[in-house]
């Protein structure tokens, strides 16, 4: 009998075949020779002689055959693959409903994952755009309460001289610069940096040359790409030309490339906006102070405004360096009591830039992975149902000789084809959702330059393949396991009686419900947290409250008396504007602006050890600030312009400070001072509390000093308007220009905008997780509906018989719904059990709710119960409408 399949078997034994064939030839020849009368030996010799060189021929034939086999093996592999892919494509094309639902589900799951991973990639994975960014660290003073604060110049210089862990050391400060002489004056955020700054980072400019260690023209300025394009039209000839900053000519020496990413360096890390320009430091290569730029500040240890970035010496670990700076910090604090008992600490560059983004991103990443899990479960469930429906078809194929492996491979191929197509659709969805995401994202996310780079695409591809294998494997195992005869024997109407497949699908749906509970509960927690955050009383009346910043320059900036005169004059003009009902100013703007802190001493109490003094917020205000902000004066009086540098030093304190220091008495007339070197200040008033640091941070003690007794060349103004605050901006600009045409107003925003900005990140996270949980619910509904619809179709005959025997419609409805209730119950119970564990990492993001908040859990459970029964109701109603007669007969 011929065996047609033999040729295709890759494991055919070539050697044996060739030997058999050649031996047969020799034997036949010998037999014929014997027939002609030769004896056995002679006949054999004659056969061998005529044959020729047996060994050579054997080798030659074997070589040919082996080569052929290798080639055909390769061909058949490709042929099988092409066949599988074709088969899968044809199958998917024939069932457009299935394909559409599966593709959409996958596109959503993979797309959302890719989008979120793009952000994760930009913040947490992609290397920073510096040379060897892993070696860069930020050095901070470590306060006695563990918080990082900036250095005073003297202390910074001691660290620079004494530390041995660093191969490079650069200090910087943040200063605003008003650009004039080119259209309207504009206030720009800038940084004053050590001459070593760019060398420590290891960055090169796009054009020109930056300053280098020890070589910096004090009048040089380096522009960022953004400023260069926005204000100078990207003109390369700007290098070498002079621009006017704070009324002083500075020569542009370089423009940084677009990729140069440098945010403001603050104690609570943010990766939002950064300086627009960089100028070299002052005497001693110490970053300049905002007030009186050219003053030599080397003796000052206390004014904390200097931030430090350093590069670890090769071979020195961050841990070793941290130990060293800690020791130096402690030693200096013993040597100089005015250092206030501080030590020092290191923060690695990535944490400094993106540290506060890490946790929200992890929560978002977890949420999308759960969405993907639900999506995969849906597709697996769909494929299982499809596999069950095709059982007869597959059994037939097996009967016709296809191996189990072959069929399993085919099903897996189908799943992979589906997931690759899903990934392609997902990539488009991801591209779109990244754009959407950036539109609603807080500015520290938009600053990230989120892109779909190759890491993201690899991730998406990995997710797709993983998804394909994950949901392809179950149906593949199932179908290759199924036994032939039972599958073939089943009638066509019940082609899918596989109980196992139905049980797997029950499991999948229960898991989907559990994960959906988790996501909905997480979303509920975040939404509740966000709601309580936005309903917090900040202590400020934010209605129609416009804020802007003024940075004085030149002569007005140099003398405190001039500063105060200017502020008073501006306030007077503002109040004279029609539509302005109140105006005031303070050195730092609550919530939206900067934050000054101080320690203080209380008259009549023992002087605490350094580092043990009470601390609070420090604020300098003009008269009228409190009433303009809606802050009440609970006791005593407001500051007044009659509080001069020649009269008694006075302060107001807030109720929190009053309660802490004088719980039983009125604080009026009590005295405090900032330090032993400063004069005593008498408390003349008590104000209501505000949340200076944002809605999420409870009120802290605050000390308010009158600007007329201590002022700064920058001030934040608040203006209460009768109508739309932004309508007042032109007349405010005009009022400022009338006083000094070289001044600009900066950061023009309403207080509501500042608060919205302060809660932008929680809003972003809660909105996204809510979006994901809606996706999860939708996908779960599809899953449940699919399963229930399918199981009703399975039980049609049974239901028809029951109805023929007199069962009520209601009892049929109950039969179907009971199963849905079971699944929902199991899923919800499992979900509730894991939710408190899974939401624990969210704890730090939550405000006013705990991760195990019973209300959120209950809401999630209810939502899922409702959704499950809703999804089951349509198939149940269909079951109840079954006409017994038609089905029983068929």
């Amino acid at each position: 009998m011929s065996d047609g399949r033999q040729d295709r078997r890759p494991w055919r034994d070539v050697g044996r075949d060739v030997d058999d064939e050649l031996t047969f030839h020799l034997e036949m020849r010998a037999r014929d020779a014997r027939a002609q009368g030769l004896d056995t030996d002679a006949a054999r010799r004659e056969a061998e002689r005529r044959f020729g060189d047996l060994e050579r021929i054997r080798r030659e034939v074997r070589t040919i055959d082996e080569q052929v086999m290798r080639e055909r093996g390769r061909q058949s592999m490709w042929r099988d693959l092409r066949q599988d892919v074709n088969y899968a494509l044809r199958g998917l094309w024939r069932t457009p409903g299935f394909t559409a639902v599966a593709l959409l589900t996958l596109a959503i799951g993979i797309g959302a994952n890719t989008a979120i991973f793009s952000v994760v990639n930009a913040a947490l994975l992609r290397p920073l755009s510096f040379t060897d960014p892993g070696e860069l660290v930020f050095l901070w003073n470590r306060n006695t309460d563990g918080r990082p604060t900036p250095f005073g110049p003297g202390r910074m210089m001691d660290f620079r001289a004494q530390s041995t862990s660093f191969s490079g050391f650069a200090a910087l400060s943040h200063i605003s610069y008003t650009l004039t002489g080119r259209g309207d004056p504009e206030t720009l955020p800038g940084a004053s940096v050590s001459s070593t700054f760019f060398d420590v980072l290891g960055v090169r400019p796009l054009i020109g040359d930056t300053f280098h260690g020890g070589h910096a023209d004090p009048n040089a300025v380096v522009l960022t790409y953004g400023l260069w394009v926005r204000r100078f039209g990207g003109d390369p000839s700007i290098v070498g030309r002079a621009i006017t900053l704070n009324r002083r000519a500075r020569t542009v020496v370089a423009v940084m490339p677009r990729e140069f990413f440098w945010p403001f360096i603050t104690g609570t890390p943010t990766a939002g906006a950064g300086p627009d320009l960089f100028v070299p430091g002052g005497p001693g290569d110490v970053p300049r102070v905002a007030i009186d730029e050219d003053r030599d500040v080397r003796d000052n240890r206390n004014a904390g405004y200097i931030r430090v970035v350093a590069r670890l010496r090769p071979g020195v670990t961050e841990r070793q360096a941290d130990a060293e700076v800690r020791a130096i910090g402690a030693r200096l604090s013993v040597q100089y009591p005015q250092d206030g008992g501080r030590t020092a600490m290191l923060v690695d560059a990535r944490t400094q830039f993106f540290g506060t983004l890490e946790r929200p991103l992890i929560v978002l990443a977890m949420a999308v992975v759960f969405v993907l899990a639900i999506a995969c479960a849906n597709v697996a469930s769909l494929l299982l149902a499809r596999g069950a429906a095709r059982r007869r078809d597959l059994a037939l194929r097996r009967a016709l000789g296809a191996t189990r492996l072959r069929i399993a491979r085919q099903l897996l191929t189908e799943a992979l084809v589906l997931s690759v197509a899903g990934a392609a659709a997902g990539a488009i969805f991801a591209w779109w959702s990244v754009r959407m995401l950036l539109r609603v994202a807080p500015d520290d996310v938009t600053a990230l330059s989120v892109t779909l780079d190759w890491r993201v695409l690899i991730y998406a591809a990995a997710v797709a393949v993983f998804a394909g294998v994950a949901f392809g494997i179950a149906p593949a195992l199932q179908c290759s396991r199924g036994d032939l005869t039972s599958a073939l024997a089943e009638g066509s109407t019940r082609a899918s009686g596989s109980r196992r497949s139905s049980r797997v699908r029950d499991w999948l749906v229960a898991c989907q419900i559990a994960i959906a509970v988790l996501l909905v509960a997480g979303a509920a927690l975040l939404v509740r947290s966000f709601a309580s955050l936005t309903h917090v009383d900040t202590g400020i009346d934010t209605r129609n409250l416009l804020t802007f910043a003024i940075n004085l320059t030149g002569r007005t900036a140099e003398y405190q008396s001039e500063q105060v005169r200017f502020y008073a004059a501006l306030q007077e003009r503002l109040l004279a504007l029609p539509g302005v009902t109140a105006a005031g100013s303070a050195v730092t703007l609550p919530i939206g602006g900067d934050d000054f802190g101080t320690t203080y001493q209380v008259d009549g109490r023992p002087i605490p050890e350094p580092g043990q003094e009470p601390a609070g917020g420090y604020q300098v205000v003009m008269p009228g600030f409190f009433s303009a902000m809606g802050i009440r004066i609970l006791e005593g009086r407001d500051v007044a312009l009659t509080d001069t540098r020649n009269s008694q030093g006075v302060v107001l304190v807030n109720e929190t400070l009053a309660r802490q220091q004088w719980p039983a008495h009125s604080p009026i007339g009590k005295r405090v001072r900032i330090s032993a070197e400063e004069p005593w200040l008498t408390v003349v008033g008590v104000t209501s509390d505000i949340r200076h640091l944002g809605p999420a941070v409870p009120p802290r003690p605050e000390i308010y000093q009158p600007a007329s007794q201590r002022s700064f060349p920058f001030m934040a103004f608040v203006v209460r308007t009768a109508g739309d605050p932004y309508q007042m901006v032109p007349s405010i600009r005009h009022a400022v220009a009338e006083l000094d045409p070289t001044l600009a107003i900066a950061d023009v925003k309403t207080m509501d905008d500042h608060i919205a900005h302060a809660v932008a990140r929680p809003r972003f996270v809660s909105a996204l997780v809510t979006g994901f949980s809606v996706l999860a619910l939708t996908l779960a509904v599809i899953g449940i509906y699919g399963l229930m619809g399918w199981s009703v179709a399975q039980q049609q005959r049974e239901i028809a018989i029951r109805m023929a025997l007199g069962a009520e419609k209601a009892s049929v409805l109950a039969l179907v719904l009971r199963k849905a209730a079971w699944l929902a119950g199991a899923g919800i119970a499992a979900g509730l059990a894991v939710t408190p564990i899974a939401t624990r990492p969210m704890g730090a993001l939550l405000f006013g709710v705990t991760p195990a908040d019973p209300l959120s859990l209950a809401a999630a459970a209810l939502a899922l119960a409702f959704v499950t029964l809703f999804a089951a109701f349509v198939p149940a109603a269909r079951a109840a409408r079954i006409q017994p007669g038609t089905l029983v007969r068929s």
Partner: protein, 116 residues
């Protein structure tokens, strides 16, 4: 030397002879050898073994296929069949041989007439 010449000649025509042998139906290697031996009067197939590399090469080119059968003595026998491609190849070889031999014959004849 003369052996070499006949072998070279054989390599060119062996393919055509094998295809011709199989044009009447499936044969095993020995059967093909016997047919060539009888058809050419034992002139061409000097080394019978050289038939086999030729057969396997033809199979690799899909001009013939092979399958295993059992002989009357219950031995495994590899039997070859001409494919459609093989049949077309045989026609091509025959017409080429026809033209070639006609040309050679003409050449030989022409030489004879010129000398006379």
């Amino acid at each position: 030397m003369s052996d070499r010449t006949s072998v070279d000649l054989l390599q060119g025509t062996l393919t055509a002879l094998i295809l011709k042998a199989l044009s009447w139906g499936p044969l095993h290697g020995y059967g093909i050898a016997r047919w060539i031996e009888q058809a050419t009067g034992d002139e061409l197939l000097v080394e019978e073994g050289s038939l086999y590399p030729a057969l396997h090469r033809l199979e690799a080119r899909r001009l013939i296929t092979s399958h295993w059968t059992k002989s009357d003595t219950n031995r495994r026998v590899r039997s070859y069949t001409l494919t459609e491609d093989g049949r077309a190849q045989l026609r091509a070889e025959l017409s080429r041989w026809g033209r070639f031999s006609a040309a050679v014959t003409r050449a030989f004849d022409a030489r004879k007439t010129r000398t006379t």
